[in-house]
């Protein structure tokens, strides 16, 4: 088991947002973390990365308990985060965004540039001047440059034009085909389900359903994901 999240609870100040989330990612798997808006997907991700350390339950990465480890230690243990809202460093160039936190491994500047040729074209440009889609590519490239064992993508296609979405999904499929383990949050089921090996659905801060994409019937979709 690469990532093993067990019964985690997390709060923002006094208001509790997670009441018991279980989720697991096997080596080489892509797991879809699903649920309507506000159900706790981003909070779960923040808890895994110890950005909002869980106040109960446990998170283990390749057997190592992450409890009490600052977020930079969690990252070094192998989690690459592509956060909600992209959060590129606007005052750094594309190239600097990619190398500032890079760690050695299979992913290099060349490979990221192959994956996203648009980034190579813009390497000397300030990240603030990129389009939303390019910023998303940069956020993914930046996480890959840390050579993670597990890539976490939170709403990586949110608010992007359809053409750009296709590019992002193509990249995600390529990463999965290369054997990278991925935890992915996205609203576009038609793209998400074919990539995913397993799905976890959150409802009001609890994991409410686990299964394979094939088991996720229209009824279940309607019940947990419909608006």
């Amino acid at each position: 088991m690469l990532l093993d999240v067990s019964k985690i609870e997390a709060s923002y100040g006094a208001s509790q947002a997670l009441f018991g989330v279980d989720l697991a990612v096997e080596e080489g798997q892509a797991v879809a973390l699903m649920g309507r808006n506000g159900m706790g997907k981003t909070t779960t991700i923040r808890a895994i990365c110890n950005l909002n350390p869980p106040r109960a339950g446990s998170v283990r990465l390749a057997g190592t308990d992450l409890k009490g480890k600052p977020s930079h230690r969690v990252a070094k243990l192998g989690i690459g985060l592509v956060p909600e809202g992209r959060r590129c460093f606007p005052n750094l160039t594309v190239h600097e965004n990619l190398i500032a936190a890079a760690r050695p491994g299979a992913w290099s500047l060349e490979r990221v540039n192959d994956l996203f040729p648009r980034l190579a074209e813009r390497h000397a440009q300030m990240a603030r001047s990129l389009s939303g889609g390019e910023q998303q590519m940069l956020a993914i490239g930046r996480a890959l440059m840390t050579n993670p064992r597990l890539l976490i993508l939170d709403e990586a296609t949110e608010g992007l034009a359809p053409v750009i979405r296709q590019d992002i999904w193509a990249a995600i499929r390529k990463l999965k085909a290369e054997g990278l383990s991925i935890l992915v949050v996205d609203k576009t089921l038609s793209e998400l389900l074919p990539v995913a090996d397993r799905c976890v659905i959150l409802e009001n801060g609890r994991s409410a359903w686990h299964g394979t994409p094939a088991e996720l019937s229209a009824d279940l979709q309607d019940r947990y994901l419909g608006v």
Binding site: C49, P70, H72, L81, P83, P90, R128, T146
Partner: protein, 307 residues
């Protein structure tokens, strides 16, 4: 007024500016990157001056003293950051001001306890003694020119460090999104200690270099600290480029103001009165300049991109 005098005063202004830049660079980095108001920055300047004077007196070498000033100020900065400052990043500015003011008192008393109340003196190293002729015939001390050169070198070094190295990228990334750079695996706490020690070393260097021009004594840092705050406010808080320009501006305007304003007032008034009024106006000149610049550019000449 002769050309020679004007040139001499201009160089004096540049030298003051360079020294202010060394102080202001650390102050503006620490404020820009960590959001911390550090009143004890002047104490690190004093630490540098005392370390240089003491080691130079013991070994007979100014250059060993200079190395000691960098090492002592950086070490003092790192220790203070680890023990006190890192508890202040998430506090409001009033807490920071109070705690770092307490540090000033501790540094001052500690220094008095170690070295006594009498000032120390530091000689200009033999290599840099003497003077060169300026166009117009005046003689100008080599040592002051060396300070200007050292400041230019530090400015260039900082430009490379912040602009071209990975450490610099991480500092800038931390400025715009501290949580994110941590989530990518950069230990921001260690980074902050390094930035603080770097700023402290620059303050210590300034103190050591000025130590050979003035007496080295407790309390020498605070007047410089006030000017350095004026500099970073003028330059735009967080901007090294702004600190450089602001420092040179303050240095030159202050120095030339003290020379020219009494003469200017002398056109209208008796010499004695002119000296008094002109002198008073000159000492207010940089504050008037700051007010003027802030009226036109409220965030300083080079406002940092974020915030």
């Amino acid at each position: 007024m002769t050309l020679a005098l004007a040139l001499e005063q201009l160089l004096n202004g540049l030298q003051l500016g360079v020294m202010l830049f060394l102080m202001a660079a650390g102050l503006t980095l620490i404020f820009g990157v960590m959001g911390l108001i550090n009143l004890a920055h002047g104490s690190l300047y004093m630490v540098g001056a005392f370390a240089c004077a003491a080691v130079a007196a013991a070994t007979g070498s100014f250059w060993l003293g200079l190395v000691a000033s960098l090492a002592c100020a950086a070490a003092a900065g790192a220790i203070v950051e680890l023990l006190v400052i890192r508890r202040l990043y998430d506090r409001d500015h009033l807490d920071q001001v109070l705690a770092t003011f307490a540090l000033i008192l501790m540094f001052s008393e500690g220094t008095r306890w170690l070295f006594g109340s009498f000032p120390l003196y530091l000689d200009i190293p033999p290599l840099l003694q003497g003077a060169v002729a300026l166009p117009g015939g005046a003689q100008y001390p080599v040592y002051r020119l060396a300070i200007i050169a050292a400041g230019a070198l530090v400015a260039f070094g900082l430009y490379l460090l912040i602009g071209k190295t990975r450490l610099g990228m991480r500092i800038r990334a931390g400025e715009s999104d501290r949580e994110m750079i941590g989530a990518l695996g950069v230990d921001i706490r260690t980074l902050y200690t390094v930035v603080f020690a770097l700023g402290a070393a620059l303050a210590g260097l300034a103190g050591a270099m000025v130590g050979a021009l003035q007496s080295v004594q407790v309390g020498m840092g605070e007047p410089v600290l006030i000017l350095a705050f004026v500099v970073i406010v003028i330059g735009g808080i967080g901007s090294i480029k702004g600190a450089l320009l602001g420092a040179l501006l303050v240095g030159v305007v202050d120095t030339l103001g003290r020379l020219l304003l009494p003469k200017l007032v002398g056109v209208f008034l008796q010499p004695a009165q002119a000296g008094m009024i002109g002198g008073a106006a000159a000492s207010m000149l940089i504050y008037m300049m700051m007010a003027l610049i802030l009226a036109m550019k409220p965030r300083g000449l080079f406002p940092a991109a974020h915030a």
